[in-house]
């Protein structure tokens, strides 16, 4: 087994000063949404953390998650993390291909048995294994084989976390999420379509820093990033409270930057860090650009009604069924009245 250097050693080797390291720890804390008071503990932990092996599996996906990740302005703080991990298998990013690539995967699995991380993007088709294969191996077989010796599995993106677009109604491939198949290993879901790149790297650095699974919410998402709704953190929230809403995409309210609730914003029911971490190196996020949140980090977000349908809109059922209920009401009422009158008539006769 080859020596895996600690992060402290890696940074030292790169000539990073202690001041630089403190800066790094501060930004890491910020990234992990940890309070600044945690910085000394982070520093201690990171110094002694060892570089883990990572195997990245891509199934039914669009590579958008990888695109997002590689847009996270490498080499930066996040880049450092990637220096600190050993990405031993990734279709898109690795140089090796074919049998060499598969050999690399097996080698990494053997070398780091019980301690490597498996990252998955894309959903797994269960209707027919032939729907998606890599090197002749079905997605299902590859996943199950690879996770066997893993310390934990990270499902990157909404497809891996919840089934995503392939799993949307009518789900022709029988797509399922990682957590539907992997039940004996910790699964961390980092959903989003795509997930915020900083969030992806932060989850990895959290694992790296503390060596354990972060606190997760009921959907298996790290609470550090998915603990608040977009709505709670939205800078337009004051307008919601004042009842100031954009009614269409080009009206006065939209131009004044009012709340997009009525335009279908799913912020109130969507847990993600977009409103604070933002996108494109902190430039903006959809609501800031004037578009309602689609709720892409929520389970089955494709099937939750129209993107531009306001959140509070209920489904009242079809007019025909309501009319049917009305007809039933008339019938029941008539029967009740007839029964009442029959009793009256009977009593009158008896009396």
């Amino acid at each position: 087994m080859k020596h895996r250097p600690t992060v402290g050693e890696i940074l030292q080797a790169k000539g990073v000063s202690r001041r630089g390291f403190l800066k790094y720890c501060a930004t890491t804390a910020s990234l992990l949404a940890l309070p600044p008071s945690m910085i000394p503990r982070i520093a201690e932990a990171i110094e002694n953390a060892r570089r883990p092996s990572v195997i990245w599996l891509s199934f039914q996906e669009c590579t958008g998650c990888t695109e997002s990740l590689t847009r996270s302005a490498s080499p930066t703080v996040e880049g450092l993390i990637f220096d600190a991990i050993s990405l031993d298998y990734h279709h898109t990013l690795q140089a090796a291909s074919g049998e060499q690539a598969e050999a690399a995967r097996h080698a990494a699995m053997e070398e780091n048995d019980g301690s490597y991380l498996v990252l998955v993007d894309g959903s797994i088709p269960m209707a027919n294994p032939g729907y998606s294969t890599i090197a002749g191996i079905s997605n299902y077989d590859m996943l199950m084989e690879t996770v066997k010796g893993a310390a934990a599995v990270v499902a990157i993106g909404s497809c891996a976390a919840f089934g995503g677009l392939p799993g949307a109604d009518p789900n022709p491939t029988g797509a399922v999420a990682v957590q539907d198949l992997v039940t004996d290993k910790p699964v961390i879901n980092v959903p989003g379509c795509p997930p915020i790149p900083m969030v992806m790297t932060a989850v990895l650095s959290q694992f790296l820093t503390f060596g354990k699974i972060p606190d997760l919410d009921k959907h298996g998402r790290p609470l550090a990033f998915f603990g608040n709704t977009i709505h709670d953190r939205c800078y337009r929230r004051p307008f919601y409270e004042q009842g100031k809403f954009a009614e269409s995409f080009d009206d006065k309210g939209a131009k004044a930057g009012w709340c997009l609730y009525k335009l279908g914003c799913k912020g109130p029911t969507t847990y993600n860090a977009c409103a604070t971490v933002k996108w494109n190196s902190g430039t903006s996020f959809p609501i800031e650009s004037g578009h309602p949140c689609l709720g892409c980090s929520e389970p089955r977000f494709w099937d939750k009604g129209g993107f531009y349908e306001p959140l509070s809109t209920g489904k009242f059922g079809s007019g025909a069924k309501v009319a049917g209920a009305a007809v039933a009401g008339v019938a029941l009422g008539a029967v009740a009245a007839a029964a009442g009158r029959r009793r009256q008539a009977k009593y009158t006769k008896e009396a």
């Binding site: 403190l22 600044p36 800078y235 337009r236 004051p238 307008f239 971490v277 004037g290």
Partner: protein, 130 residues
């Protein structure tokens, strides 16, 4: 003028997110003076509307002291017009902002020379002149 400026979006000056932070700063100064406890506010964790960060920065203003740090990219450590309130901005090697903090303290920790660096420096000095 770029085409982006032609989009008819007006930025409303305030969404009301600045005032609570200023309040928090005042409380932090109280803590510093009364109990000698420094406070760090991570601005990344707070919701800001367009222009509000600039508004906050302008409100706090520039004080007497600015320091730059060159480690893993540049950093600016600047005291605001309110002594004890420091505006700290970390950038990466691509000069992109990776962290913004308000520190309410007498001297931000990052400005102090670190023992590890002092020792490394001493070693280098010895190597060079002994």
């Amino acid at each position: 003028m770029t085409s982006i400026d032609e989009i008819g979006v007006q930025v409303e000056a305030t969404h009301g997110n600045v005032r609570p932070i200023l309040n928090e700063v005042i409380h932090a100064i109280d803590r510093l003076l009364d109990d000698n406890i420094p406070t760090t506010i991570d601005l990344a964790g707070l919701p800001f509307g367009p222009g509000e960060l600039d508004e906050l920065e302008a409100t706090l203003g520039n004080g007497e002291l600015v320091a730059t740090l060159d480690a893993l990219g540049s950093s600016r450590i600047r005291e605001t017009t309110y002594p004890g309130v420091w505006w700290i901005e970390h950038r990466n090697v691509h000069d992109e902002v990776v962290g913004r903090y308000l520190e309410v303290t007498r001297l931000p920790e990052i400005l102090c020379s670190q023992d590890a660096d002092i020792m490394a420096g001493r070693a280098r000095l010895r190597d060079a002149f002994e």
